[in-house]
């Protein structure tokens, strides 16, 4: 009991300090709502998270789910293409040399710079946003998976040689489990990027989504809702990351 108290105390104090500073700042600038007002607004907002009043006016629950869905699809496609590609790049030096300049060139491009291309090609906001997620989150998955394949200790490959294992056995018993921790790191990095990008992309494209909702509330000058959106985005991002951390722990064998 004492231990739980000890470990909860510092973060709780940090949170209280943060809220305190927020309240102080809110007092001195009249346009910024304080924590109390924001909390009241949040309670009201979350009391009916799944209402539907029209195609662009839906409950916050629907907004969050819509964003998560886009992230899921874009991220899923990035994983489905990025991870196998990473494996092959790691395994075959020629492919590595071939793709290295392209990856180096495209990786530092800001996700939002990809948006106009997406809108041009897909002519609709939803697929364009998914495209931006895809192209932004694919790089960590390719690079980390390839790095994992490169870092497989030669010892394991020697075992495979001495046992004369078939290619399939090498893949399932050695290659895949050895690369898994690196893959999961890549996935963790990707999910962070993806969630970051979706909010910005939705601000620019509109529709249903948490990013769009932020922009809409700004247009309505509902500052409390913008602040709430910040918390929501942060909390959902945190939960996604934590889920992957737990997954990573499950598969680490140190």
């Amino acid at each position: 009991m004492n231990n739980i108290f000890k470990s909860l105390l510092p973060p709780l104090l940090g949170l209280l300090l943060f809220i305190g500073i927020w309240a102080l700042v809110a007092q001195s600038s009249p346009q910024l709502p304080g924590p109390v007002k924001t909390w009241a607004s949040a309670v009201q907002l979350f009391s009916d998270p799944f209402y539907r009043k029209g195609p662009n006016d839906q409950g916050i629950g629907w907004n969050i789910l819509a964003s998560l869905q886009r992230v899921g699809i874009g991220f899923g496609m990035a994983a489905a293409i990025g991870i196998p590609l990473g494996f092959m790049i790691g395994r075959f030096k020629f492919l590595d040399a071939m793709t290295a300049p392209i990856i180096s060139l495209l990786r530092p491009v800001s996700p939002l710079a990809w948006l106009p291309i997406g809108l041009l090609v897909f002519k609709a906001a939803n697929p364009a946003a998914i495209w931006v997620i895809f192209i932004s989150s694919i790089w960590p998955m390719i690079i980390n998976t390839a790095a994992g394949v490169n870092r497989i200790p030669q010892d394991y490959m020697n075992v495979a040689k001495v046992l004369n294992l078939s290619e399939w056995k090498i893949f399932t018993k050695i290659l895949f489990p050895a690369v898994l921790p690196y893959m999961i790191t890549g996935i963790r990095l990707s999910i962070g990027v993806a969630w970051l990008v979706i909010v910005a992309a939705e601000m620019l494209t509109g529709g249903v989504g948490i990013g769009f909702w932020v922009w809409d509330e700004w247009n309505n000058l509902n500052v409390e809702h913008i602040i709430i959106a910040i918390f929501v985005v942060g909390i959902v991002g945190l939960l996604l990351e934590q889920a992957l951390v737990m997954l990573a722990k499950r598969f680490s064998y140190e």
Binding site: N158, V159, K161, V162, L163, K173, Y253
Partner: protein, 260 residues
């Protein structure tokens, strides 16, 4: 002498940026079935290279290598290797690590329960039945090395190749495993080729000690026949003058006759 492993006029060259590097030259060695041979020499003299050649993990630049009359063209389960780093797969349990080898060698001809039985027996041979369902990170270094030995033995190899298998262990564990290895080798009539740099280990375990000269271009300097009676007891040998003679001979070679 019955020829089980034959190394004939073997030379090993490596291409490096500075030109060809001759690791081994003029290696002629014959090993009989059931023999326990150690390769000893200073660091960098090519003893691991020679072991890798017998294992088939590398192919010689010139010369012939034969095992049981057939040319060695690559690695395989009939030349089982125990690595210096145990090389156990960390995501498999000890049982599964050994089972991987058993399945590879006997999977086509035997059913599942027979394979399981082999795996249990191999682990029992090294005294690790109680650790079967543990993962490598849950057991000690000595135990990991024993699993490595169990894995190699479970394949019933023609030759057991060991690359400084006890190098990473403390003296007590090493002594214990050396005794166990002698017992197992005798019980299974295995042919063993072991790389070591420990003189006492070489004299205690071997039937013959192959002493390599210093690298580069190392070759076989001397071969010592150790005719101490088996089973060998290290405590008794401490008072055996012949043991000390052998020991002296090896040390003399290593420290005085290094150059070819």
């Amino acid at each position: 002498m019955e020829k089980y492993v034959q190394v004939e006029n073997v030379q090993m060259l490596f291409d490096t940026k500075k030109g060809p590097f001759v690791a081994l030259r003029d290696i002629d060695l014959t090993i009989a079935q059931g023999e326990f041979v150690t390769l000893i020499g200073h660091s960098g003299c090519g003893k691991s290279t020679l072991l890798n050649l017998v294992a088939g993990l590398t192919l010689p630049s010139s010369g012939a290598m034969l095992c049981a009359g057939r040319e060695i063209v690559g690695p395989g389960p009939e030349r089982g290797v125990v690595f210096q780093n145990h090389s156990l797969l960390p995501w498999l349990t000890c049982f599964e690590n050994v089972h991987l080898a058993v399945e590879r060698v006997f999977g086509q001809t035997e059913n599942r329960s027979a394979l399981k039985k082999r795996t249990h027996e191999a682990l029992a041979l090294v005294g690790l039945t109680h650790a079967e369902h543990k993962h490598p990170h849950e057991i000690s270094g000595g135990m990991k090395q024993r699993v490595g030995i169990a894995r190699a033995l479970s394949m019933q190899p023609k030759v057991l190749l060991m690359d400084e298998p006890f190098g990473a262990l403390d003296a007590l564990t090493r002594a214990h495993l050396q005794d166990e290895l002698m017992k197992i080798a005798q019980a299974t009539h295995s042919t063993v080729v072991m790389v070591t740099h420990d003189v006492d280990e070489a004299v205690l375990l071997s039937d013959r000690i192959v002493m390599l000269t210093n690298g580069p271009a190392a070759t076989i300097g001397e071969i010592l026949h150790v005719t101490l009676e088996r089973p060998r007891n290290r405590l008794a040998l401490a008072n055996n003058p012949q043991y000390h003679e052998y020991r002296g001979a090896v040390l003399e070679f290593l420290y005085h006759k290094m150059k070819s």
